[in-house]
């Protein structure tokens, strides 16, 4: 059974998800294949029961995701019978953007942020769900649940709408949109406990297994396919690792772990001393880099 705390969070998220379906012309749920997305999708399945969620899923594929993630994504959408839109920024591919030559921040901006904006414009979505949580990062803690974006998808942190009680202002003009974060008030631990209690499937990469990795600075990078650039004389070594957050494989740092079940992950979580964002190379550029990315239209 769910704890009172998780029930409260679940009900709050369902309320938010329903609100979007009722108020917007053409909403979409960003599905990033991660654990937070998994919980968000699960909540959407609950929110509209016995109907199905009245919106499609959108995955902005940078083409550098772990292979396991793509398999998982396609199987999940098919087994739930939901429409899945996959968008790749073809312009970025044509320009040869990749995490090795372009660097993490350009790669992320072009393939993720630009790709997302392209997809939202192409389909004319006026609301997009994202799985971000306030406990992830400092500028996230300042974000609204209904986060208004101008015609160019940018976030203006000084001009956010006051969010009183649960009375969300969902009004947008043509070409403006809203990003909605139903998991705003969840913590990483809540996500795991809920995943466990509800038996929500996750990408196996979250669980510890022997995987081929190379060390890059402080991080362990998994060699997921032949595109990984190895330095001279460098050989991948097998280590028992798992990922606390998933993204493009060359940019996702693994942690050494023996937690090979969700239960073990939760136990590890309860004693861990580092935040999950530590493994994400894209955040380390400089302080407040998340805020900058969000101003540009990042989720």
């Amino acid at each position: 059974m769910l704890s009172e705390h998780l029930k409260r969070l679940e009900a709050e998220s369902i309320y938010i998800i329903r609100e979007v379906a009722a108020e917007f012309r053409n909403p979409v749920m960003l599905y990033s294949i991660g654990k937070d997305s998994g919980v968000m999708l699960h909540l959407a399945m609950k929110a509209f029961y016995p109907s199905k969620p009245p919106f499609p899923l959108l995955h902005v594929d940078t083409t550098w995701k772990f292979r396991d993630m793509i398999t998982f994504r396609d199987n999940l959408a098919a087994s739930l019978g939901l429409e899945l839109i996959v968008h790749v920024n073809q312009e970025g591919i044509d320009r040869g953007i990749n995490p090795f030559d372009s660097g993490s921040s350009l790669h992320t901006r072009v393939m993720k942020t630009e790709g997302l904006k392209q997809a939202l414009d192409k389909y004319g979505f006026d609301a997009a769900f994202g799985g971000a949580r306030r406990d992830e990062e400092k500028s996230r803690a300042k974000e609204r649940i209904f986060s208004f974006r101008g015609a160019n998808h940018g976030w203006d942190p000084k001009n956010q709408r006051p969010e009183l009680w649960r009375l969300y202002n969902t009004r947008v003009h043509q070409n403006e949109s809203i990003r909605v974060f139903p998991l705003s008030n969840w913590t990483e631990l809540d996500i795991w406990l809920y995943t466990l209690a509800e038996n929500i499937p996750i990408v196996p990469l979250y669980l510890a297994a022997e995987r081929p990795v190379v060390r890059r600075g402080e991080s362990l990078i998994m060699v997921d396919d032949e595109r990984m650039r190895l330095n001279d004389g460098e050989r991948p070594v097998m280590k028992k690792v798992r990922f606390r957050s998933l993204g493009c494989y060359p940019l996702s740092g693994a942690v050494k772990s023996d937690a090979d079940t969700v239960e073990a992950v939760v136990q590890e979580m309860m004693t861990t001393r580092t935040s999950e964002r530590q493994g994400r190379l894209i955040d380390t550029d400089e302080a407040a880099s998340m805020e900058r990315k969000k101003r540009e239209g990042y989720f």
Binding site: H5, K52, K142, P162, A197
Partner: protein
């Protein structure tokens, strides 16, 4: 781990929890601890962010990598010398770090062995008061910080008043920076006395004064050796133990329908979150607005049907009868209904830089309902420092007032003090879509209750009201080529962009259809204008703003149309361009043709143009663009409160 196939099967069967108790089940049970939402408020620099940073730090919610970042940030932005600046844990925006202040409300989470907490860190600057109110609306308890060196400041009082208005019942008076006044008990006692005498006018159930030092941790989590004269609990202990049960738990059942759930023809459910009270299968319920009644057939959730749903639970209700129910309708017990009225009195906190003007129309959101609404009068505004009522004709940002409001259709509500879920509302600007005010309903105005039943006739007023506009005719008159259509075009585009329903009539769309049988003799010209006038009158009756661009050379016909309308509905706009200029422009080559004798009866040439004697607006076009002239027209409409 579950396979995807098993997951989707379980999802559709609705049994996800068939699992033995494990160690993690016990962890989950541990999460059954209660939950408290609180905010920190008070004047700028009183140490709110530092206090939260300290609470997070002491409750070990700070990870090692965050601590490393904090140390480097403290060196770069910190205001505490060589020591760690805990405020930087919460002030996350670039501007905040650079200015060393909090601008926006931040929500943080931490858990102790007793309770889980969500804390809203809110800004102290007066200009960001709306963000403080946001935090207060989502909190059960407020920690009001006071700098021991400064005592009770105007902003302290303002925040106390807002907390009280928003229904926060428990206040911690945290007298901070007590280390900087030498842990002096007399100073603490004086501040507590000052605040208590002020707060006696507010509606707090309890006020708990605690002397603290957020920077050094005195009385935050652990009792302070420096303050031996204080024997009370620490701040964290207080937050862990304060009883927040409120009288609202006894409120009657309310649920606003959020989404009508119709997966197929055999199922019709009403999805929503129970706002207050409880509902049980078999209960009789009513729709507050329409008065229609039915019985609860089932309470559907993904995890199986419930016998009863209580406040806070998200469910889908099915009824035994086919009742017409839509999003926004409020379900309630037939014998304990909310008020239904279109006029009520409320407390309002204005949050926009544009002043509130009585008579201007906004959108009001209460529950799931969105309706056009007008502030009909400001009864008085509140002088927070002296606690006096002041007369006011408008309201500026951060001012609080008691107002009468009128909505375009009746809404269901309870007094905010009885039920915050159904008595709180926001106002939205119809043009910028900004949230401009937060309101707490006090009571329905008696005159409203009888009015809405008579609102069944569909007349001009009713039609105009659902368009939220004041219908009228903008009659552009002037010589051929004077610029009537160009100006009218720009005006119409701007009105349309602002959400007004318009219709433009000109020679092109009238001469080819309605008036195709008419020529250009004087008699035909008169009949042409008469018909256009009649069409305009019908369109105004339909609630539209009509823009007419016709030479309409004769004063008599223009007067005739004016007299067919109500006062203020006919706005004559004289587009005054010298004939030499019209001939120079000659956009349709008509003057050239007239000069060659190919057109007879051409106005200004061989047919007269009677200059309007008293037009509402006289546009002298020489040297001005169509945009500038359109601005003059819109300025006039604004002045007349026709369009904003």
């Amino acid at each position: 781990m579950t396979s995807l196939r098993l997951y989707s099967e379980a999802l559709f069967r609705g049994n996800l929890h068939a699992k033995e108790e494990t160690i993690v089940e016990r962890m989950l049970a541990d999460q059954n601890k209660s939950f408290l939402r609180f905010l920190t408020c008070g004047s700028v620099d009183d140490g709110k962010s530092t206090l939260i940073g300290r609470l997070l730090f002491e409750s070990q919610r700070i990870y090692e990598d965050q601590l490393v970042t904090l140390e480097s940030d403290s060196r770069r932005f910190g205001t505490t010398g060589d020591e760690i600046d805990y405020a930087l844990l919460v002030d996350g925006l670039d501007d905040e770090r650079q200015q060393g202040i909090t601008i926006d409300v931040a929500y943080r989470f931490f858990t102790t062995s007793v309770r889980a907490f969500m804390v809203a860190d809110t800004p102290g600057h007066e200009q960001y008061t709306r963000n403080m109110a946001t935090g207060a609306s989502n909190s059960d308890v407020a920690i009001l910080l006071i700098d021991a060196r400064k005592g009770v400041l105007p902003q302290t009082k303002r925040h106390a008043v807002i907390c009280s208005l928003l229904g926060i019942r428990h206040i911690v008076l945290a007298v901070n920076k007590i280390d900087l006044v030498g842990y002096d008990r007399a100073i603490f006692d004086q501040i507590v006395a000052d605040f208590s005498s002020f707060a006696s006018q507010l509606s707090f159930a309890s006020i708990m004064p605690i002397p603290i030092s957020a920077r050094y941790g005195d009385n935050v989590v652990t009792p302070s050796d420096n303050i031996s004269w204080y024997q009370g609990v620490t701040l964290l202990r207080y937050l862990e133990t304060i009883d927040i049960k409120s009288h609202h738990e006894a409120a009657p059942f309310r649920m606003a329908v959020q989404w009508v759930n119709r997966p197929n023809l055999d199922f019709r459910g009403y999805s929503g979150t129970v706002a207050s009270g409880a509902v049980t299968v078999g209960d009789k319920i009513a729709v507050a607005e329409s008065g229609r009644a039915s019985t609860v057939k089932s309470l559907v959730t993904f995890d199986g049907n419930l016998d009863q749903a209580r406040a806070g639970e998200a469910v889908t209700i099915t009824l035994t009868d086919e009742v017409d129910i839509a999003r926004g309708d409020v379900l309630c017990p037939p014998d304990d209904r909310p008020s239904v009225a279109d006029q009520f009195s409320a407390h309002l906190l204005w949050m926009s830089e544009d002043a509130l003007l009585p008579g201007r129309q906004y959108l009001l959101r209460v529950g799931m309902r969105l309706v056009p609404a007008t502030i009909t009068s400001i009864k008085h505004k509140l002088d927070i420092e002296r606690f006096e009522h002041l007369a006011a004709t408008q309201l500026s940002m951060n001012e609080i007032a008691v107002c009468n409001l009128s909505t375009a259709s009746p809404i269901a509500f309870d007094a905010y003090k009885d039920n915050p879920e159904t008595g709180g509302f926001i106002l939205i600007d119809r043009f910028t879509n900004a949230t401009v005010a937060v309101g707490m309903i006090d009571f329905a105005l008696r005159r409203a209750t009888n009015i809405h039943q008579q609102h069944t006739t569909v007349d001009q007023e009713a039609r105009a009201r659902i368009k939220s506009q004041k219908p009228c005719v903008l009659w552009f008159t002037g010589l051929s080529g004077s610029g009537k259509s160009s100006i009218s075009d720009v005006v119409e585009k701007r009105l349309h962009a602002r959400g007004y329903h318009t219709y433009g009539l000109d020679g092109d769309n009238v001469r080819h259809g309605l008036n195709r049988d008419l020529g250009f003799t004087d008699a035909d010209r008169v009949e042409n204008v008469r018909r256009i006038g009649e069409v305009s009158r019908l369109f105004v009756d339909a609630g539209l703003i009509v823009l007419c661009s016709f030479i309409s050379p004769f004063e008599a016909e223009r007067r005739m149309i004016r007299e067919r309308m109500k006062e203020d509905e006919f706005i004559e706009i004289f587009v005054d361009t010298p004939i030499e200029e019209c001939m120079r422009r000659d956009p349709k080559g008509l003057y050239a043709k007239a000069q060659r004798g190919e057109i007879k009866n051409f106005t200004g040439f061989d047919s007269p143009y009677e200059t309007p004697s008293a037009p509402e607006l006289h546009l002298r076009t020489t040297g001005k663009s169509a945009e500038e002239l359109a601005d003059e027209v819109l300025g006039y409409l604004r002045m007349k409160s026709i369009a904003i």
